[in-house]
Symmetry: C2
Subunit: 207 residues, 2 copies
């Protein structure tokens, strides 16, 4: 069984490996990958050993083979239909973000509770009322839902998603949500990124 912390690092390694492959780099050392991912080299070697990948002493890892292994392990060799609920500023930015589809995450449905938003066209889709979600989730096989609503309605939206059979949720709303154990949920808080920057910023001014 792969530890959660390792799983969370695999996409970060993948991002660096993709950049290397585009630059025609064929092998990479654990030190180099560690440097790019902000971890130590022993951690990289341990993480990759869970995939059965050990690299060759003095040569490193084969970039293409690692790409294949990580993509397979993360389930990126298939397409995932994704729905976004809450088509405000954030919902618009997420619907238009090409970084999702290039990795196999296709935004297939947009939902909002505001009648004034329903019918709006964006990213090749039409915003539908939240009441359509159960039907669309079943017909389009929606596996993942993104919550981009205000905090007050986030739990109600999570319940609708779960009820409709969606088993993975990415939540942006600043609210603590409860979902059944059979549903995976991740919460995004972009202030975490600024907090990390603040650590280094403070060090700089303290020097």
């Amino acid at each position: 069984r792969i530890p959660d912390a390792t799983v969370a690092r695999l996409p970060v390694y993948l991002r660096s490996l993709v950049e290397m492959a585009e630059a025609n780099t064929s092998t990479v050392s654990s030190e180099r990958l560690a440097d790019l991912a902000g971890v130590n080299a022993a951690q990289v070697r341990k993480d990759l050993s869970y995939l059965g990948s050990y690299g060759t002493r003095g040569v490193g890892y084969d970039v293409e083979f690692l790409l294949f292994q990580i993509r397979r392990e993360l389930g990126l060799t298939q397409d995932w239909p994704v729905a976004i609920v809450g088509i405000g500023n954030l919902g618009h930015a997420l619907a238009n973000y090409r970084g999702f589809s290039t990795r196999g995450f296709h935004i297939v449905a947009l939902f909002d509770a505001d009648p004034a938003k329903v019918g709006e066209k964006l990213a090749g889709l039409t915003v539908r009322p939240l009441t359509d979600l159960p039907l669309v989730a079943a017909s389009d096989g929606i596996a993942m839902g993104i919550i981009a609503t205000p905090a007050a309605s986030a739990q109600e939206v999570a319940d609708v998603l779960v009820e409709a059979g969606v088993t993975s949720i990415l939540n942006f709303a600043p609210a603590v949500l409860t979902v059944p154990a059979s549903v995976s949920m991740r919460k995004v808080d972009l202030s975490i990124e600024l907090q990390i920057l603040s650590f280094y910023q403070q060090r700089r001014s303290g020097e």
Copy 2:
């Protein structure tokens, strides 16, 4: 010196500790904190030891004291003025996000290159032309900049920020940017969150 990977976990511990303090929980075990953060308990103990915090066997860590220590270490005991460049869908959502100011990150200036956007009022601010950035960065002491522009203009915007003395950058644009070693930069790619969910989703369907 605290390892980068430890620094990146501190805000995640902080988020859980804040929720505990609000629920009037006075102590927490390393196991509980590990569970909430998705790491193992030994990692928590090691991370917190860098702050000089060791907890008491059988009792755990004092929640309030840990909150104080982590906030101090991350530099959250001061206010950080932040600028956003690129006031499109994403820029709007970030300008309105209350999760920044509650942690001491105050959005103080908004910039865009589109004359049609300049003069727009949002989140109590007025969008200014990018050409105003050097002056505003100096007068408002802007330490951090968020790039929410298309990829094509991201490097040019990073250069303007660096030139204006901004030393921390959070980049959302899907582009590989280069900045001097004296500048900290973090890149956000929200597809990473979906890739982690995809790992667990694939496991579920494989069972």
